[in-house]
């Protein structure tokens, strides 16, 4: 029998309806309740679980007590195995982390969780990037910058069901991101890339032979080959974070940071994981190329998870020396919305807008629009 680990962050999403831009922290949750906020995520979890209910006899749900999953599972018609303990009505991030660890220990096949970016971050902290166990988010939070979420509760349920049935067993790495809520409330947006979690591939079936479908992995290898083949001598290459850009560093056989910015010159590493100041020192006045990919569920090429590549760094390199890399599937998942720039400098954002040739493979580019919203 397959085992599904279920974690519901019962307070996720409460801050949204009442205009609090997030729900992290006990104080904010209290204010949200005072403003009349109702828990959103239990309802969303139930919606997702109802899709999985068709596998009721083939899947055992392992979950935490009360509102952290037990109630939702029963509501959807399951008879869950309940582990752990919580203070009902006063759950906190530690409960989410403990629950995730307990589920890994219980040997679940997949962890399905309802929450927002904060919840995804807690799960990431608990299970780490080394974990083989796939996870999938039911979007219920105010902030959804992370790419570990399905587009809606129903499709989360469907993707989990397909995975448990063995129909969609491919796994991809998806970004875990979170923004600083306090800064956001003050009008500043600072999104950080925390890491990657394995999620089930949302494509349901492999395509037939006629489609000539290449795997995303092969496409990414083509992207790396294309970038490396066109690298110019004596020019600084700023390689942004992400799994697609990582392939370039792997192709060059250089050490890399998945979450940070690396600097390359003449196919040799200059520095790994530089901060903004260090980066600017490297590129100032030099011939520079910036290679970035779309980060997070919204498809940001600047301003989310790669703030080290600041407005002055971008200006110094020049728009014509920015290369955006992304697989076809990634762009299709964003269509018809444009890729986004949010550097914090509106004038620069405007200049960076327009059509780009997105490198999608070996000698293979896609014309795609970059915009500000």
């Amino acid at each position: 029998m397959k085992k599904l680990g279920l974690i519901v962050n019962p307070v996720a999403g409460m801050g949204g309806r009442v205009g609090l831009k997030g729900s992290d922290g006990a104080e904010i949750q209290k204010r949200a309740r005072e403003l009349g906020a109702k828990p959103e995520s239990p309802l969303r979890a139930i919606e997702a679980l109802k899709v999985i209910a068709r596998l009721k006899d083939q899947v055992e749900i392992i979950t935490y007590p009360y509102e952290m999953g037990e109630v939702e599972a029963r509501e959807a018609g399951f008879d869950p195995r309940v582990i752990g303990s919580i203070n009902s009505g006063e759950t906190n991030p530690e409960d989410t982390m403990q629950a995730a660890q307990d589920m890994v220990a219980a040997g679940v096949d997949i962890i399905l969780f309802a929450g927002g970016d904060g919840t995804a971050r807690n799960i990431y902290t608990a299970v780490g990037s080394g974990s083989d166990i796939p996870v999938l988010g039911i979007p219920a939070g105010v902030k959804i910058h992370s790419a570990v979420y399905a587009i809606n509760p129903k499709s989360a349920g469907e993707a989990a069901a397909l995975f448990l049935e063995g129909k969609a067993v491919n796994i991809r790495e998806a970004e875990v991101m979170d923004i600083d809520e306090d800064a956001f409330r003050e009008g500043r947006l600072s999104a950080q890339l925390y890491g990657y979690l394995n999620v089930p591939e949302n494509k349901k079936y492999v395509q037939s032979v006629k489609s000539g479908a290449r795997s995303e992995k092969a496409e990414v290898q083509g992207i790396a080959a294309e970038i490396v083949a066109n690298m110019q001598d004596d020019a600084i290459y700023v390689i942004g974070p992400g799994t697609t850009t990582r392939s370039i560093m792997q192709k060059l056989e250089l050490p890399y940071t998945l979450l940070g910015v690396d600097v390359v010159l003449n196919k040799q590493i200059l520095a790994n994981d530089v901060n903004e100041q260090q980066l600017y020192e490297f590129v100032k006045g030099k011939k520079t190329h910036i290679v970035v990919t779309a980060i997070g569920g919204q498809g940001h090429i600047f301003g989310r998870g790669n703030q080290q590549i600041s407005p002055r760094v971008i200006r110094d390199a020049g728009k014509e020396n920015i290369t955006v890399v992304a697989s076809r599937d990634k762009l299709v998942s964003i269509m018809p919305r444009p890729l986004l720039v949010d550097t914090g400098d509106p004038e620069l954002d405007r200049q960076l807008s327009g059509y780009y040739r997105i490198v999608a493979g070996w000698q293979d580019t896609l014309m795609y629009k970059v915009g500000t919203e």
Binding site: E158, G166, K167, K204, K210, S211, A213, P336, M367
Partner: protein, 522 residues
């Protein structure tokens, strides 16, 4: 095949057997044909016929199946009864493939007429004047159909034709001393070979993603154009079935920067006899003779990509060119600027012959009628399918409201409502005696896609039956999910898990691989 009195669905069941692979039928020593030993007089001249092979002789006999003639016959007849296709069922499922009726007299001519079947491609041109005459006359017909000036039938398929055109584009620019043009522009809803084959030919390819209307944005196209653009390779109508009414603006913009325009006319059933590549401003084009002109195709079988050019590109066409000198037909290899030969001999002559016959059977008015009829059939089906629960028609507004010969449909709503997507519906189709449909090229821009092309061959009753089956499957998805989960029911094998058949480690495409992977033989 009898039909239910009320629902009109067929009481279909596939062959109940799962025919063995012919290697499994092999019995050591069993023979279909016993080859006699050489007579003494012959042996005296050339030996036993084996030793002359010298080093070419195999050390081991080839691992062929050893089966008698009668059992071979039974095997293939049983296999043929397990298939589905145009000659067995309503085959409007293969959108973009134009699965029209292929008159059997064509087959008879191509396969049995001694003047055709007994010709050897290496014969002297003077001894196969009839074959050359047919190629020459087909060229004259295709010139009229497209408005262009010269045709070659060398390429062995549509993608091969596009590859040939990419090669001609390069030869043209280089003949003018222009070596910097190394980019080809195409669109996401054009056939993938418009991107893949120029890429294989060495070009950098830029693909335009569709906008919210389903069209390649003109401003994106203009942003992609430069002095590096060698050409554009574009399908119209695209695989959505939407005709881009502004195509002339794309062509003019490309010409303005010195690029050539190549028209992928694999979807020509939409406008045959109505619109031509010439009037749309294109410099070159290709047709799929095995689709639009009925010569059958499938299973990667013989095909012909007819490639057409304006006068100024003719020096670069493939050789040999079939010409008429006033008294006889000749093969002209003397074309110094030609890209050369793109296929052995004269191409797939059987396909050219069948296409020639089909065009002659129809005449100019008939071709036009075929296009009108196929657009009418598609629009009739569109009206019916739009009302089917769970079906979504993307770009169903503005120009997109009107489709030509096909539609790329979506089961997105069905998937959201029931969890069943296009793959599930596809599995169930065969239970009704209809072969699986074509979903979409990659990537799936239209989610949960299926592409239907009811060309001119199908009757109203056929279309009603097909739409009825889809409506019934939709009903089952909503009301009887168990039926869908277990489908197909009326066949010898049940659902095959897709990851498995896509896993290179698990699948075996040859008998030898099968034995090795099963651990039966090293």
């Amino acid at each position: 095949m009898s039909r239910d009195r009320y629902t009109r669905f067929r009481k279909f069941h596939q062959a109940k057997w799962d025919e063995e692979i012919i290697f499994e039928l092999s019995v050591p020593g069993e023979r279909g044909v016993l080859v006699p030993k050489a007579e003494a007089a012959v042996a005296q001249e050339v030996g036993d016929g084996v030793s002359v092979l010298g080093a070419l002789k195999r050390n081991q006999a080839p691992g062929l199946p050893e089966v008698s003639q009668m059992r071979v016959n039974r095997h293939y007849l049983r296999l043929s009864q397990e298939t589905m296709g145009t000659d067995v069922n309503i085959d409007i499922s293969q959108g973009t493939c134009t699965m029209k009726y292929s008159p059997k007299v064509q087959e008879h001519m191509a396969a049995r007429h001694p003047g055709i079947a007994e010709v050897h491609p290496l014969q002297d041109a003077e001894t196969m004047q009839g074959v050359l005459e047919i190629i020459y006359k087909t060229e004259q017909l295709m010139k009229e159909i497209s408005g262009l000036d010269y045709f070659s039938f060398q390429p062995g398929g549509g993608a091969h034709g596009v590859y040939t055109n990419a090669s001609v584009i390069r030869a043209y620019h280089q003949s003018r001393g222009d070596y910097k043009r190394d980019e080809i522009i195409t669109t996401m809803f054009s056939h993938p070979c418009d991107a893949a084959t120029p890429n294989t030919a060495g070009f950098k390819v830029i693909t335009l993603m569709p906008d919210e209307n389903g069209f390649p944005p003109l401003d994106a196209f203009k942003a992609a154009l430069s002095e590096r653009t060698a050409g554009i390779m574009i399908t119209n109508p695209e695989d959505t079935g939407i005709y881009n009414p502004r195509i002339r603006e794309y062509v003019d913009a490309a010409h303005a920067v010195g690029a050539l325009c190549s028209y992928d006319q694999a979807n020509a059933n939409a406008f045959l006899g109505i619109a031509r590549a010439k009037e749309a401003g294109f410099d070159m084009c290709h047709f799929n003779m095995h689709k639009t002109f009925s010569a059958p195709h499938g299973c990667m079988g013989p095909a012909t990509g007819a490639v057409g050019y304006k006068e100024f590109l003719s020096p670069f066409m493939p050789v040999p060119r079939v010409e008429f000198d006033g008294s006889k037909y000749v093969l002209n290899y003397n074309c110094p600027q030609s890209i050369g030969k793109t296929r052995s001999f004269l191409g797939n002559f059987g396909v050219i012959l069948k296409s020639y016959m089909w065009i002659m059977q129809h005449g100019a008015e008939g071709l036009k009628e075929a296009a009108i009829c196929s657009v009418l059939n598609n629009n009739y089906m569109m009206k019916k399918l739009k009302d089917t629960k769970g079906v979504v028609m993307y770009y169903d507004f503005g120009v997109g409201k009107n489709r030509l010969e096909q539609v790329r449909w979506s089961w997105e709503k069905l998937q959201q409502d029931t969890g069943f997507g296009t793959g599930d519906v596809n599995q169930r189709l065969s239970d009704f005696g209809i072969q699986h449909y074509w979903t979409s090229h990659h990537p799936w821009v239209v989610p949960e896609p299926f592409t239907l092309e009811p060309c001119e061959s199908y009757s109203k009753d056929d279309l009603d039956e097909y739409c009825g089956v889809l409506a019934e499957i939709s009903r089952e998805c909503y009301e009887e999910p168990e039926v869908i989960k277990g489908a197909p029911h009326n066949g010898p094998t049940h659902r095959v898990k897709h990851p498995e058949i896509n896993d290179e480690e698990l699948i075996a495409v040859t008998w030898r691989q099968y034995l090795r992977k099963k651990g039966l033989k090293k």
